[in-house]
Amino acid sequence: MKQLLDLATVFGYISLLTVGGGMAAFPELKQLTVDTYHWVTFPELMHYYSLGQLAPGPNMMMVASIGAQVAGLPGAAVVLVAFILPTGLLTFGVGRLWNRLANWPWRPAIQRGLGGVAVGLVLAGGIVLARGAITDAKSVALAVGVFVLLMFTKINPAIPIVASGLIGIGLYLI
């Protein structure tokens, strides 16, 4: 029970940091789930995150994996509700207020101000992920390859990610 409560608290808190996307919360997610509570190892977290990129729907449904690993199905359910409900209620409320705020002069200021901070948080998340995932020349080549493909073609991102995995298996077997 204590564990489910901890899961709910941690993931409710992390959800509030997902400004600009799930990646913005990655540094704090790593800090809490790996370093503070030892629910997963850093490689496990990276693996779930990467697998999450291959799943359909919102890209952070990988939080359910952590919940499931810690406390089975109830863990997954608690984590999902904690992760979605607080920000969901906030969005619901603001969505209803929004029309009244249409001419509020601070609205564009908030949108523009948060834009830069959001990109910075996503960058920080990328750096934390890269520190764990980029370990040798092979991983640099895979990251650069995926970046170039996605930047300059309209290919579905799942394809180069799966291709990376297959190349990884190929290099291991050789």
């Binding site: 359909p56 994996s65 999902l80 523009r112 960058l123 995932a133």
Partner: protein
């Protein structure tokens, strides 16, 4: 992701709760590889015609200004517009269920086969690939959000504080947001009008 032309199609009558749930479940199950927003637009605006593009872009702007996952926020906002709070609930459920079920299952599979060296080779390699993907996401987000040099300064400061100095994210978020919002604060122009609103460029793309 190129710019898509604004589509003006007649908007269909709001769907029943069940149809709404099925619609979002379909999008939640088929939006492979990230970029759920593009799938949402195709589904909601083009295929089902539940929303017009102007509304979609407006809901997009709200989603991006708030914490929470973009796809989940969009589902809540669109569901609320179409069917009130029950609509918001079923839309978010439909969007999240497929991915959440798969990732829950993934944890059990990982527990069984996660130590196998071939699986590990696969997982390490997709983590490297994910770094490439997140870099692209950041560049695209930046292209939409960053409009002047000061914005880039906020990006670098935020990232350095979190990733290099390990300042807890909430402090950075609140502190940097306060500075950045103040920087972009509404200013009176010479004519005495409020400064022109600059919206993020084409949030639907």
């Amino acid at each position: 992701m190129s710019k898509q032309p604004i589509v003006v199609l007649p908007v269909a009558p709001p769907p029943s709760l069940w149809r709404l749930f099925l619609g979002f479940l379909m999008i939640g199950a088929t939006s492979l590889g990230g970029g759920v927003i593009a799938y949402l637009r195709t589904g909601l605006v083009v295929r089902y015609r539940w929303l017009d593009d102007t509304t979609f872009v407006e809901l997009m702007a709200i989603s991006q200004s708030l914490p929470g996952l973009n796809a989940t926020n969009m589902s809540i906002l669109a569901g609320d517009r179409l069917r009130g709070w029950p609509g918001a609930l079923v839309a978010a459920l439909g969007m999240c269920l497929p991915g959440a079920s798969l990732m829950t299952a993934a944890a059990f599979v990982y527990g069984v086969g996660g130590d196998d060296p071939v699986s590990l080779a696969f997982l390490h390699a997709i983590a490297a690939g994910a770094v490439g993907l997140i870099t692209v996401v950041m560049v695209q987000l930046g292209a939409k959000m960053l409009t002047e040099i000061a914005d880039y300064v906020f990006v670098v400061l935020t990232a350095v504080l979190v990733a290099l100095f390990h300042v807890p994210v909430p402090y950075v978020l609140v502190g940097m947001a306060a500075i950045a919002i103040w920087w972009h604060r509404p200013r009176k122009t010479v004519e005495g009008k409020a400064a022109k609103d600059v919206q993020p460029k084409d949030p639907a793309s």
